[in-house]
Symmetry: C2
Subunit: 319 residues, 2 copies
């Protein structure tokens, strides 16, 4: 009998999960080669524009395998729908049988992405955060800021967006939960005041360039997850002192780094893989002057870990 869980049930169980621990161990397992994870499956749509990603795989000698489907359709606001949607499927590694459907509507993908941002900030962000800069006003622009609570007390946020109404809504919503928010349509207003910057848009043209870099700045780029999306001028990767990716394999094809590789601004052997950083058990940043960049395109190991943990917590709660 297939178990089926809806979003409200899933949300309730997340408090029972040590999210950064399970996601860190997923990255670590991936980087030591314990996760079987084929290339990302991808469908791209033009009218209306959207993309669907299938991330899937399994940890060797584990009980389950996971197939995660997540979509971003960026004109869904016209239908009063969130841009993100999706589900996670958990199967037995012994029989292939479907065990559980998590109808998370893309929520678990958002959470595991935000947790990854939290993890890279722990290893890379400067000790003292002046202000948090955010490109984008959507779900990840909100969730990622909230997940940084365990890393920093900073509540000053400067947010960049193209739409004034979205900026106003972001400001209002985030102020309600305790943040002090400035809005801007000029990227320079972020780069001159913020030393922890989050890129969360589906932009295909760079929003930050080398002239925006300042010593001590950390940038987490999590919006670009396809071949075409790009939020950072790729020369930034050359200027940065430390560049981290969640997957050396995947960053050859998608995200910020593949643009930098193609244009010769960075080499693969100059990039750290997050799982290896985690296994090193120490902060990668060694000075407050260093410029650091993390390029996260999201890997199946995160989906596998959060789906399994959600199933376990749901099971415990139902018994």
């Amino acid at each position: 009998m297939v178990k089926i869980h809806k979003l409200d049930q899933i949300k309730k169980t997340l408090d029972d999960i040590n999210l950064d621990e399970i996601i860190e161990s997923g990255f670590a397992a991936y980087s030591v080669g314990d996760v079987i994870t084929p290339p990302v499956g991808e469908l791209v749509f033009e009218d209306p524009p959207g993309d669907t990603h299938i991330k899937y795989g399994y940890i060797k000698e584990d009980d389950y395998f996971v197939i995660k489907i997540a979509s971003g359709f960026y004109q869904n606001y016209k239908f009063n729908l969130p841009s993100g949607s999706g589900l996670m499927l958990v199967f037995s590694q012994k029989t292939g049988a479907l065990d559980t459907i998590l109808l998370d509507e893309g929520y678990l993908t958002n959470v595991r992405t935000a947790v990854a941002g939290q993890i890279v900030a722990k290893y890379l962000a400067p000790d003292k955060i002046d202000k948090i800069g955010v490109f984008g006003t959507g779900t990840m622009a909100r969730m990622q800021v909230q997940f940084l609570k365990s890393i920093t007390d900073c509540i000053q946020v400067v947010v960049w967006g193209r739409s004034e109404s979205s900026l106003d809504k972001y400001k209002k919503d985030m102020q309600e939960i305790g943040y002090e928010v400035e809005v801007t349509q000029d990227p320079n207003n972020i780069s001159c005041s913020c030393n922890l910057i989050l890129m969360t848009t589906p932009s295909t043209v760079p929003l930050l360039n080398c002239s925006n870099l300042r010593p001590g700045m950390h940038i987490t780029a999590m919006g670009s997850d396809t071949h075409d999306k790009q939020e950072l001028e790729s020369r930034i990767l050359n200027q940065a002192d430390i560049v981290v990716t969640d997957s050396l394999e995947q960053c050859k094809l998608r995200g910020e780094i593949h643009h930098g590789l193609n244009e010769g601004h960075i080499k693969l052997n100059e990039i750290f893989e997050l799982g290896q950083v985690i296994l090193g058990r120490k902060r990668l940043r060694t000075s407050e002057e260093q410029i650091t960049v993390a390029d996260l395109t999201g890997i199946a190991a995160q989906d596998i870990q959060i789906a399994k943990a959600a199933c376990k917590a749901l099971e415990a709660n139902s018994s």
Copy 2:
């Protein structure tokens, strides 16, 4: 609200669907380039042995896209479970939102595969079928024979299998529904008496070789759908007068043909694609002496078509 349908509901609706019409139009749409279908996603498991395939895509300017997951775990009989399982997911092409989950347990995959066998038999099998030869005793070895009813009145079946108990069970079950069944463990007993042969096993060593070929024989190979599986000695592809595949693109990587391509026994431009054959609207076999082979690895277009048709029929039945 996501619609979720179980196997018994799905089975009931199939009578309302003109299966060969929808699957033929899927193959035709694929062959004229109207189906966006990335490479098959695949997970391979070693202990216990199994494989999971993700086939997915969409017809341009259609309302939906489909992601199909189907697994074969060949030691499931030890747990008294069928080897096949799976589900189909239907999403909106306008918003990315999940519309319907078809918990078909792999049944729709079996049906669309059997329908493809029926279609190739229509275009390739000799006019007069002496006996139907079947390699394998599983679900497809049964279903495929039954789906040939629309092509031939022949009820004589010779079945090959490795296990005597499986052969006995096959014979008993098929006799109950009106077939006359001989069992054998020698492939020659099939090749000397049957002129329509169905390969339905997950074998990785060829079960039929060139010495088994006789004029007028048609072989449909549908068991091999991975890189490693192989049911036919690849020189058979060289000896055959006509070779058809469901996908010229996919057969480069999986099924029987890629072995033949790699070993130089056949060239890609000597192979017909099924959708083109269907668009030609005439039998490809032009003489009763020709040897014909169809290599089917199963394409997303079939899954898209059967999933959409099932949803439509389920919707009609519920209203």
